[in-house]
Amino acid sequence: MNNNTAEPSETMIEMIKVSKLYPPDVVALKDVSISVAVGEMFFIIGMSGAGKTTLLKLISSMEPPTKGLIEISGNPIHQLKGFKLARLRQKIGVAYQDFKLLADRTTAENIAISMEVSYKKPSIIRKRVKDLLAQLNLTDKHNTITCELSRGEQQRVTLARAIANSPTMILVDEPTGNLDATTTEKVMQLLTKCNKSGATIVIATHDDSIYRHTSHRIMELREGRTHAIVGGNGT
C-alpha cells in the first residue's frame, strides 16, 4: 500500500470502463465500471463464463486489462512494479478458484506462505495457522500434504491462505463450490468476521445461497458486461 492509508469512507477498488480481450477475439469483459468502498462486502454473480474470475484476476493484478483503469486504494495497479507491487499484493488476499496450492507441501506450509513473504515471526505464523485451521475445521489436517486433501478441504486451505496475512482486501472466487451447507456457513462466518474487522471482501459466486439474503451490493455480470448492480444503499 502507498502512504495514502485508506479511511473507511474511501474507495478500495475503482474500475473505469475496463475491458479484457483474449486472443484471438474472446471478449471476457467489456466496459465494466465499479467502485467498491473500503470495508465493503461486494458480490459478483453470474453464470459460468460471465467474466467473474477474469474480473478478480484484473483486480488482483494477475492479468492486465486490455482497456480501462483499475485503481486499488488510489494506486493504478497495472502501473505498479517491483517492490511497490509486491507490497500491494501482500495486502490483497486471493482465494483462487483453482486453489493454487503447493501439492507437495503440508496444509500449514501452504497457509504460512502468505505470511512468510511479509516476514512474520515464526511463532506468530504458527499461532495464526492453528487458529485458522480450527476455524475451518481443519485442525487434524495440519501436517497433511495438500494433494491428499479432498476438494472441499483444499478450498478451505485456499481461503485460509488468503486471509492469513490479515489483508485489507480479500478476493474470493467461488468459495463454496465444493462445500456442504454447514461448511459453507462456517466459511461465510469467517469472511464476515474479516469484513467486520475492516477488510474489503469481493466474492465471485454463482451460489445464490450465500448472497440471497445479503444486504450487501451485488453486481451481476452477463457475457462480460455489467447487467445490474443491486443492494446496499442503492437498493
Binding site: 494477475m62 517491483g82 517492490f83 500491494l88 499484493r89 502468505s114 513473504v117 516476514y119
Partner: protein, 295 residues
C-alpha cells in the same frame, strides 16, 4: 521472520528438491577446480624452478687460445656492448684442468697422462637476471659466438629449450583447464538452477501472487550458485592439497621429485581460485535467473 532466515529456508528447500542434480553440479565444480588447480600448481612450480635455474645460467665461451690482459679488456668491452652482464670470468686452461680434476675427485688420476693444457681456455659470462627469455639468451649466445677467437658457446641449449617449451605447453594446458573451469562452472550451475526454476514454477508463480518481492524470489537462486561455488571450489582445493601432500610423502625418497623444492599455493592464490570459482558459479546462477525467472 527476518528476510535472511526466510531466504535461507528457501535455499534449503531448493537443495532438498533437486539434491541429485545439485550433487552432480557440486562434483563437476569440484573436479573442474581440481583439474585447473592441479595444472596451475605444476605450472607455477615449473616457473619458480625456471627462475631458479635462470639464476644459475652461465654462458661458456670456449676460446682458441688464452687471451692476454689487453685482449681480455677488449673482449669484456665487446661483451658488454651487447648488454650489461652480471659477471665475466676468464678461465685459463690450467684453471679448467684444476676444476675438472676437482670434479673427478678420487678418480683424478685418470688425468695423470693428460697435458695440463688439454682443455681450452674459456670465458664464463653470467647474464643479468633480466635476460630471461629463450630468444634473448639465443641472441646473446649467437653474438658471443661471433667474437674473434671463439670456438663455441655453451649454455645447455638443449635443456633450456626443452624446459622452455615444456613451460609453454603447461601454460596452454593451464589455459585450457581454466576454460574448462569457466565453462563447467557457469553452465552446470546455470543448468541446475534452471532445473530448480522449472521444477518450482508453480511455487514461484504463487509467491509472486501473494506479494513476494523480487529479492525474496531471486536471492535464494543466487545463494544456491554461491553455495555451489564455495563448496565446489573448497572441496577441489582441499582435494588437491591432500593429493599434493600424499605425493610429497609418497615420493620423498631419492628421486627426480626430490631435486626440486615443490610448494603448494600461497593462501592468497588458494583464496583467489576459490573466489573466482564462487564468482563464476554466481554468474551462472544469475544468467539463468535472468533468462528463466520472469518477475
Amino acid at each position: 521472520m527476518s528476510f535472511w532466515v526466510t531466504v535461507i529456508r528457501q535455499v534449503g528447500r531448493n537443495l532438498r528438491q533437486t539434491w541429485g542434480s545439485q550433487l552432480m553440479t557440486l562434483l563437476t565444480v569440484s573436479l573442474s577446480v581440481l583439474i585447473f588447480a592441479f595444472f596451475y600448481l605444476i605450472y607455477t612450480n615449473m616457473l619458480s624452478l625456471g627462475d631458479k635455474l635462470g639464476d644459475d645460467l652461465t654462458l661458456i665461451v670456449y676460446l682458441e687460445e688464452e687471451p692476454g690482459p689487453e685482449l681480455q679488456q677488449q673482449l669484456i668491452k665487446k661483451i658488454t656492448t651487447f648488454d650489461e652482464v652480471e659477471d665475466i670470468r676468464f678461465i685459463s686452461s690450467a684453471m679448467a684442468y684444476e676444476r675438472f680434476a676437482g670434479q673427478l675427485g678420487q678418480n683424478e688420476d685418470v688425468l695423470d697422462d693428460m697435458p695440463k693444457d688439454f682443455l681450452p681456455p674459456s670465458i664464463e659470462v653470467i647474464p643479468l637476471k633480466n635476460l630471461r627469455s629463450l630468444n634473448q639468451v639465443k641472441l646473446f649466445s649467437a653474438y658471443l659466438a661471433k667474437l674473434p677467437g671463439t670456438l663455441k658457446v655453451q649454455y645447455g641449449q638443449e635443456w633450456v629449450e626443452r624446459f622452455y617449451y615444456f613451460t609453454k605447453l603447461l601454460s596452454i594446458v593451464v589455459l585450457l583447464s581454466g576454460t574448462l573451469l569457466i565453462l563447467t562452472t557457469i553452465f552446470m550451475v546455470a543448468y541446475t538452477i534452471r532445473l530448480t526454476i522449472l521444477g518450482r514454477q508453480d511455487e514461484l508463480e504463487l509467491l509472486k501472487l501473494v506479494g513476494a518481492t523480487n529479492n525474496y524470489i531471486r536471492i535464494p537462486f543466487l545463494l544456491e550458485g554461491l553455495l555451489q561455488g564455495i563448496l565446489g571450489s573448497t572441496i577441489g582445493i582441499t582435494a588437491l592439497y591432500t593429493l599434493f601432500h600424499w605425493i610429497k610423502l609418497r615420493f620423498s625418497g631419492p628421486g627426480l621429485l626430490n631435486l626440486f623444492e615443490f610448494s603448494f599455493f600461497s593462501p592468497i592464490v588458494s583464496m583467489s581460485i576459490i573466489g573466482v570459482s564462487i564468482l563464476l558459479c554466481t554468474l551462472g546462477s544469475y544468467s539463468t535467473m535472468h533468462k528463466f525467472l520472469r518477475i
